[in-house]
């Protein structure tokens, strides 16, 4: 379960800003009246974007907002690793260590993060800039190993590129997201292996499609 901030760090109150209030209402309008609880995930996301993390006050606020029991919101908030119930740094570095990434060298990425940031999993740097977290599969196995920092995926990592990304962030820059080795989306590493020919330049036109033969009537 994601760590929960101790009572001393919990703010007393939470309320949506005017913009978020409008956005929340827009989300709620998508669902029928009796299914307002469906909007819990977008609303929690809004709250997290506003506050940086989700304090208890925000969970209760969202619960009241949607007319659902606090425990139901709490269940959702503890289920998803994307929702942080304790403060995180400005850059939340989430490294996948699940099987595909691990086989492709996630351990070295983790090591690079530890060395560059000087923190371990679940820790935040002194300046509050970075938090390092271990993630289960983030669904980018094709480009393993990878990590997620805030909303962006950084793929095809190695120790060097990891250090570069973290260094850029440290300096206040914006690193390039996506594949770090120039791979286009999730094409094969060594270039395309199929559909490499352009049908027209090869002088072939697709043959006229044959009309499927009418099946003989069954028993008629």
């Amino acid at each position: 379960m994601t760590p929960i901030a101790p009572a001393s760090e919990q703010p007393d109150t939470f309320a949506f800003s005017a913009d978020n209030l409008a956005a929340a209402k827009a989300f709620m309008a998508k669902y029928p009246d009796e299914y307002q609880a469906s909007a819990v995930l977008p609303l929690l996301d809004l709250a997290q974007r506003q506050n940086g993390w989700l304090p208890q006050a925000a969970l209760e606020y969202v619960a009241d907002f949607l007319g659902m029991p606090s425990i139901r919101v709490f269940e959702v908030a503890t289920f998803y690793t994307m929702l942080n119930l304790a403060p995180v740094g400005r850059h939340h570095v989430q490294v996948c260590t699940n099987i595909s990434c691990w086989l492709r060298g996630a351990d070295t990425i983790v090591e690079a993060c530890r060395n560059t940031l000087g923190i371990g999993f679940g820790e935040t740097t002194q300046d509050g800039q970075f938090t390092l977290s271990e993630m289960e599969c983030l669904g980018a196995c094709v480009n393993a190993p990878m990590m997620q920092i805030n909303d962006d995926y950084y793929e095809d990592l190695d120790a060097g590129s990891t250090q570069v990304i973290l260094g850029t962030l440290k300096d206040g820059g914006t690193p390039k997201s996506g594949s770090q080795i120039g791979r286009k989306t999730c094409e094969p590493l060594g270039g395309l292996t199929s559909l490499t020919d352009d049908a027209k330049t090869a002088g072939k036109t697709p043959g006229k499609l044959k009309k499927p033969r009418a099946r003989k009537g069954k028993g008629a």
Partner: protein, 687 residues
Amino acid sequence: MPKLTIDGIEIEVEAGLTVLQACEQAGVEIPRFCYHEKLSIAGNCRMCLVSMERAPKPIASCAMPVGEGMVIHTNTPEVQQMRKGVMEFLLINHPLDCPICDQGGECDLQDQALFYGFDRSRYREPKRAVKEKNFSPLIETSMTRCIHCTRCIRFATEVAGVPELGATGRGEHMEVGTYIEKALSSELSGNMIDLCPVGALTNAPYAFSARPWELRKTETVDVLDALGSNIRVDNRGSEVLRVLPRVNEDINEEWISDKTRFACDGLTRQRLDRPYVRRSGKLEEATWDEAFTAIAQKLKGVAGKSIAAITGDLADCESMLALKDLMSALGSKNVDCRQDGARLDASARAGYLFNSTIAGIDTADACLLVGTNPRHEASVLNARLRRRCLDGGFPVAAIGTAVDLTYPYTHLGEGTDALAAIASGRHAFAKTLKVAKHPMLIVGTGALARPDGAQILAAARSIAENCGMVIDGWNGFNVLHRAAGRVGGLDLGLVPGAGGYDVAAMVEGAANGNIEVLYLLGADEIDMSGLGDAFVIYQGHHGDAGAHRADVILPGAAYTEKNATYVNTEGRAQTGRLAVHPPGEAREDWTILRALSAVLGKTLDYDTLDQVRARMAEINPNFANSDAVEPAPWGDFGADGDLDPAPLTMPIDNFYMTDAISRASATMARCTEVHLASQPQKTGTDG
């Protein structure tokens, strides 16, 4: 109706049933953990896997609706293998602490592991450990044992109506708990202990005190509210160790309230185990002879009209009958069973019963609550109202203090204005009741105990008559009693005869000397300080208010210690059975009165329990008709007059302490502390 084949047995079942239910009808038992017939279907334990022909993989029978022509196999080697696999998964993280687990001997997991368990583990990894939770002072948690069936979560959300439990985290880190360590605010929380198929939630006061096979089990009825919930009392030796519900679909289904379940430790504390006689201002131990002689001496020369008797909330019918007969032998008409002063009329039976019956709530389609908080006055009945509400088409409105009933209702104000308006048909809710096919109203005894109780009763009666509540085959007029002894007392006619005193007059008479001798049969809830110089005889089982004021104490038996009849709020006569013997020199109550009558020279003409019961049936044929509800004929009751506009307040402030037994219970005292005294949230560090 779909027809399916289960293990070669062809069976036709109702459409919409699940395969598991169909299997039960076919007499095939399916192991299960998460499925419970009173809860929604979760389908997460996977123990109920069966194989279905033409299905590519096993199906969870609890979640699969029956279909025409299904062929189900439940006893093939494949099915056995599947269940063994599921069991192995369940046991990965389940500790092997059965020898120190309170569930041992009555554990679903233990029982099913006997059939589907593997005799060794293939896992070398450490088992997970989960921190204990603080659910309530009544529930001991050992969450490491939890197998995540979610029965407790579903019970809290669906039946109890307190959505405070949930599953947090996921996968191996999933834990069942409350929102930020809050104690459960339900009066039905103890039922989770019964629902838990493993030893994760166990009975806290009973912890480590006995093994199920050491206990003697007695089937009896509860008296701590007026529902007459069917219970099983488990005792070892002379001590009642726990109380469990018995299934009775017409009354309590399979739930009981926390008071019913946990107040049993009060049965061993503050007990009156020998007679006492007040000598020179001090209560001193005495023998039965001395106590009876003291009474006989006092009564010598006292006129019948100066003698009065009040029966308490927990009084059984046999002793009430004996008291009534003794009082009339002494020439007194001053008997009253309405200790709280409720202005109920014993002449019209329909006027003091829960006429629609408890099960009738399921067919009702509109409800008006008058001065009652069923959540505190009859928690199990409130759960039924809640379920009816969730089914929809059941508008509920309430008059009186606004309280959380666990279901939505329209609050029509605290005072009696709305009552008068509905009675005269002016109120909008009167229309709602009129269009309903089976409307009902529930009047609380708190409202009837007011000085204008008879007028409130009359207003309720006219609502019932005007809104079509009293029709052929349906009577929606209901009085919700709080005391197990009340309906029995009214059935036996324990109300003042012509010119006799009622409770208020008796207390007044005692203060001004008109009443010289007052006999309290377990009556503790009257103002003891205002009894003047009256000679008070207290017969009861607990050293409560009545015993403190008494001049002679006759030690009686509590409900677990006698074979006695109680009539519940519906008018259903039920028999309680002796589980343990009364402590010390205490005796069954009717025998005390019978013995006293002989000393007084007014010997009652019955010597055995059967003879007493025959006399009861003579007075009211309802007693011959045990366990059944006879519809009562509609009659004239209540009194015309103006209603006092004062707010209708709720009679129960503290659900956990309402009678001599629960007031003596240490467990109920702890609940009071947690739920009432410390309303500000607990920090979790104070245990």
